[in-house]
Symmetry: none
DNA sequence: TTCCAAATCTTCCAAATCGTTCATCTCTGC
DNA sequence: GCAGAGATGAACGATTTGGAAGATTTGGAA
């Protein structure tokens, strides 16, 4: 499947979503003759892309979600080849610095029911890692990686607007990346995933002093602290401050979650309130279970 | 009806309810040409969100129910009862890490007709500077500054969604903060302001190697390069690379704009294509004039 | 192949929107 | 105060839209 041309036949549903109209309307327009179509043997309407474009230009219709017309996103009923080329497609879009396609792709997938954690672990982080590998070979790679970060920040922002609002009484989660770690993206993703999992999240971003984070978590009555460790660091001090952090948080029964490429190297041993996660999905699993527990506890408290 | 919140097409009824006006009036405004619209194949009016925003700013209409426009809740737009000074209010919200209030405040001021550059120069940068001063006295200040950055990033994203779409033929602007400068925010603001001024903007964010930026600008046919210098640096190398950048860009007739707290200290002398700006407003003024010039040139080219 | 879930079909209906007209309201100038 | 101009909002029958119900088709998996 040629990812960039998308497919040449659209279903009424696809055209309807691309135009921000209803399936019923598209069917009526087709039946009235405004859009010329082909039919499958069984009578289902199939709209040639060129015909869709002719119609769009004819009535000057605004296209709400261009990616559904195949300019970026794979058609949704092409499940066999989808997973294979998803990463490829996002990677190509990153190379082209095409933020619209990336945002559109992620939003589409989210609306289709994918979780944020799956989207991050799969296509998005996949593409970003490949972009990151680039600047071994190509000096432009560094620029592209910078741009990919900005695009991803924007895309995560768009996705967050689609999340249902979080309960004001939801447990609080604080986090960031430790001092010396300049990567913003993983922590931002973690915040979004935690919000999806039922926490109120407060992300302090890259390069956050671990000691302050701990104090703040206690001060604000957080139930969870996350740290994303994506850059190597002086081993001794970070390991020590993580250990202290774990102990301090344990006193208040606050969970500490460590993730990121280098999280294993600095993680404190033998701490009961520390959890290591390898992926956003693991984070989501842990957080969802924990949020459910907190809710029960809240209910129990209020009884 | 499209239920998800990122809705980009409004019906006349929705806009009417959001403005507290009648459908009849909206229809009249549309038919008179005050609001540019699209039509469905059946002739029903569909109003692009950005066009609704443009109209609201144009006639300075109060928005009674912003949530119908997907804008979330805005602070009371009862303009007579504003007691706290704007700066004070934003600062307080930053202290409380209350991102919603800050986003709502900025969006509502934008709807009232303020320009992005004025909002950035005034309330937003004002509040951020005060937050920045905090950690002279209070160690929590550093955390709050981190959080203020994240909040501002999100707010700028929200504002950008409201800008009218940029013409595909608009001149291209590339920029970022130079190597060694970790501040993301000023460059992100500059990108938004340039977009408002009629450029297609590509922001490479903090810590971007100046040499690569220059090559990329030439490679992609940019008309403008911006650099926001918010952190002190080794004077010699940065000054040298800026000088080389200015010369390289001059050959292609690309303007270089330098801004940020420390821009004066590294700016090349005697370069005709280099402009120093002290504020986002100055950037906007320069960029708007330049974009107008580019447009004229485009028209002339096509004749 | 056979089977199943998801997508699409047709048909129907309530709600929204259309274009139009008309009464009401608000301002301005005298 | 009053006449006229212009804007507003309500009302009308005709048309369009969006969604639901139940039958059929599709694409992929056992």
């Amino acid at each position: 499947m040629n990812t960039f041309n998308g497919k040449s036949l659209l279903t009424p549903k696809e055209l309807a979503e691309a135009l921000g109209a209803s399936e019923s309307s598209v069917r009526r327009w087709v039946d009235r003759g405004d859009i010329r179509i082909a039919r499958t043997a069984g009578g289902h309407r199939r709209i040639p892309l060129t015909e869709a474009i002719r119609f769009i230009r004819l009535i000057n219709a605004p296209v709400v979600r261009p990616e559904l017309l195949g300019l970026g996103t794979l058609p949704s009923n092409d499940r066999s080849t989808r997973t294979l080329s998803e990463d490829e497609m996002l990677f190509e879009s990153m190379l082209a610095c095409d933020g619209d396609t990336i945002r559109g792709f992620l939003v589409s997938r989210y609306l289709e029911g994918q979780s944020l954690s799956a989207l991050f672990d799969g296509p998005l982080l996949g593409a970003i890692r490949r972009v990151g590998d680039l600047w071994q070979h190509d000096e432009r790679g560094l620029l592209i990686e910078h741009r990919a970060t900005e695009i991803s920040i924007e895309a995560i922002g768009s996705l967050r607007r689609l999340l249902p609002p979080v309960d004001e009484n939801a447990p609080l989660a604080l986090g960031g990346a430790p001092q010396g770690d300049p990567y913003q993206l993983p922590s931002m993703m973690a915040g979004a995933v935690l919000s999806e999992s039922g926490f109120r999240d407060v992300n302090f971003g890259a390069n956050t002093p671990v000691e302050l984070l701990g104090k703040e978590a206690i001060h604000r009555g957080a139930r969870l602290v996350w740290l994303s460790i994506s850059a190597p660091s002086e081993p001794k001090p970070l390991k020590a401050s993580l250990k202290k952090l774990a102990v301090d948080l344990a006193k208040e029964k606050i969970q500490l979650i460590l993730g990121g490429r280098y999280h294993g190297e600095y993680a404190p041993q033998h701490a009961t309130n520390v959890t290591l996660v390898q992926s956003m999905t693991e984070l989501a699993t842990f957080a969802t279970r924990m949020a459910r527990g907190q809710k029960k506890q809240k209910v129990k408290d209020s009884v």
